[in-house]
């Protein structure tokens, strides 16, 4: 698989050369409450927050075999927040010593005319969905528990239906490249969530 064009650029330092460490799992709707309860106890002492986001995935098909994917996300329940444009690289499973999935990641806050800009650039919207759930924080770790909703009519985020009867649980850390130590912390945290939810590094390629 060819590397996407962004990684061809020599980028160093700053927020560009960041990696996302990710662990995923899922819980059924009925055990959501106990998981949230546990998370409230484990995470930093902050008011638990909910979120309602709308995410669109854009593709740019070039001469390369694989399309270039960008994710544009906006908050639907909080106004005045910038849009979030995200590039995610190819996930690396790594060996046993690394306890989390690692992928390159670029986060950019943008203005709200992002979609127009992307379309102008030649991107095409591949799919969109609404994510609704809870977000927690522990140190640099972010824990999101959310349900994915299918958008019935394209562009209308009001008519949605849940995709499944379960919630997706993600534990992620965005850290500079090479800091595999964070994956240990993540593993420890994931251990504490057992048996409510088993967070694992899930290779998306296998699922496809």
């Amino acid at each position: 698989m060819e590397a996407p064009p962004v990684t061809m650029m020599p980028v160093t330092g700053g927020t560009i050369n960041m990696m996302e460490y990710l662990l995923q799992g899922s819980v059924l709707d009925q055990s959501l409450e106990s998981l949230l309860h546990r998370l409230r106890g484990l995470c930093d002492n902050m008011e638990p927050e909910t979120f309602l986001d709308h995410e669109m995935v854009f593709l740019l098909k070039g001469q390369q075999a694989s399309p270039f994917v960008l994710r544009a996300r906006r908050s639907m329940d909080k106004s005045g927040m910038p849009w979030h444009l995200r590039y995610l690289g190819q996930p690396e499973i790594g060996d046993k010593n690394r306890h989390a999935l690692v992928r390159n990641c670029v986060d950019i806050a943008t203005s709200d005319n992002l979609t127009d800009f992307l379309v102008e650039m030649g991107f095409r919207m591949d799919h969109e969905f609404v994510a609704k759930g809870h977000v927690f924080r522990k140190g640099i770790m972010k824990i999101v528990v959310y349900k994915i909703f299918r958008i019935l009519m394209p562009g209308n985020t009001d008519s949605i239906e849940p995709l499944s009867l379960s919630y997706l649980v993600e534990l992620n850390v965005v850290a500079p490249a090479g800091q595999d130590v964070v994956s240990d912390d993540m593993r420890n945290f994931a251990e504490q969530l057992k048996p409510l939810v088993h967070l694992e590094k899930i290779d998306p390629k296998r699922l496809m």
Binding site: M46, D53, K78, R86
Partner: protein, 643 residues
Amino acid sequence: MAGVPVVRISIESACEKQVQEVGLDGSETYLQPLSMSQNLARLAQRIDFSQGSGSEEDEPGSAGRAWAEPGEAEDEEGLVKFQPSLWPWDSVRNNLRSALTEMCVLYDVLSIVKDKKFMTLDPVVQDPPPPKQNPQFLQLISKKKSLAGAAQILLKGAERLSKSVAENQENKRQRDFNSELLRLRQHWKLRKVGDKILGDLSYRSAGSLFLHHGTFEVIKNTDIDLDKKIPEDYCPLDVQIPSDLEGSAYIKVSIQKQAPDIGDLGTVNLFKRPMPKSKPGSPHWQTKLETAQNVLLCKEIFAQLSREAVQIKSQIPHIVVKNQIISQPFPGLQLSISLCHSSNDKKSQKSASEKQNPEDHLYVLEHNLHQLIRECHKQTLSSTVMPHPASAPFGHKRMRLAGPQAFDKNDISSLQSNEGLLEKIIKQAKHIFLRRRTARTIDSLASRIEDPQIQAHWSNINDVYESSVKVLITSQGYEQICKSIQLQLNIGVEQIRVVHRDGRVITLSHQEQELQDFLLSQMSQHQVHAVQQLAKVMGWHVLSFSNHVGLGPVESIGNASAITVASPNGDYAISVRNGPESGSKVMVQFPRSQCKDLPKGDVLQDNKWNHLRGPFKEVQWNKMEGRNFVYKMELLMAALTPC
């Protein structure tokens, strides 16, 4: 059956069958002849086993027996003597008899031996077992063995008993430990690492960014000596605090007038306040942890301050030496912030008694430093809001908006302008110092100058950077009519703003002299104002009034003020000039008619000119009666007013 022994008779029996009875008719019934075995039994019955020995025995026991069956014994003896071979059981009898004899001998020997009077038994000497000692030794060994067995059983029992007791106590202590741990858990963050229980002292969960790990270890303090008395403050749970957090610490803030010798830097403030006598036992874990946490917080404050002291560029650079930060808020003034950390070693306690200056402390600032750092913590905690959309990274919302909204440099720098702890505390120190100095100035003026009087009303509730005082200048006894000068002094950080009653605002710098001069000029103006007020009351007319007289000698402070008032009928006039430095000068103008010595000019011949006023004459003010200026003035006015 047997015949008389002397007569030899045949042994053959007379008849084969014994006659049992003879019937009346002469018929004989016969006994059936004995069978062989019956015969044997009968014969055996006849044998007297004890016979024969009786003659040899001289003991009484056997005599009785001999006496019991004498006849039979005779009979037997005869039988033995005369029919030895004929007796079919003779050999058996003989053998038995000899055995009996032997037995009797043995019995006698044993009974004699038992008495140990005439005979003793001596074992035959044999080689392998040692003679004589052997039985004692054996006895000893067997005794020892049995004792050892008994002892072992006892020991086992005791062991089991003590074990169960210890287990009981251990259980109890374990329970105590667990309950203590539970209590500890309610107040402190704990976690289990391996087989250790670690706790968190740091303020990290409260938002601190201090790098110190602040970990303490929970120890099970159960291995005390069971024999000794358990001390009263015994606690099964103990905590191990990192060595650098032991002891007690505090931040000392002081303002000094003159700069100390450079050699004293960093050592002056090492002296500690007297430590409360610690009790001999180890303190409770709660107090231990609280002190350690306080040490940690003090360290954090000091680290933060020293970092800022080095980073912040100021006109007079801040000095950080050892455990002391020195800054100069005002020229000639030194603010020193120092971290005093006393571990419990003897050496440091010794030096504590050497020098102490309790007045040196600025407790307010020390308290405020703690408050500021906590505010800082809170800010870091509250500034990290959850990201929206949820996939976005953590961070300030405004920082994330900076890109999309194209912030310019000013906007971005305004995001980051965060006044440091040191700057804040220096500002507070400046304010405190300025306030103190203002109070001192006013007080010294009030005590130095009696007329007019100066009163200061301080507000009780202040901001950390601003406080205000109301200054009233009055004359004693005339407070009601002389209310001209009311000043509101707003003391800030660098300057004092004076708000006049009429709304004028004057800004004074931090210099002490400025305030003093200003107050002096106000006081001199007050006298003139008082005359004006008095004139109104007395019915005099104000002819002229000036706060700032342009004539006369120049005052070094401010300006002289002057007033001229005329008596109700216009005959007399009083002119007062009062200068802050030159003091008051009072002149009285007489009517021309009263002046005898006035040279009669040629020009003013007409009588009407006599109504013109005459020349001024100065009143010797210090010889006037009256306790203060206004009173004197009242007397003067009264004297010049015609009845």
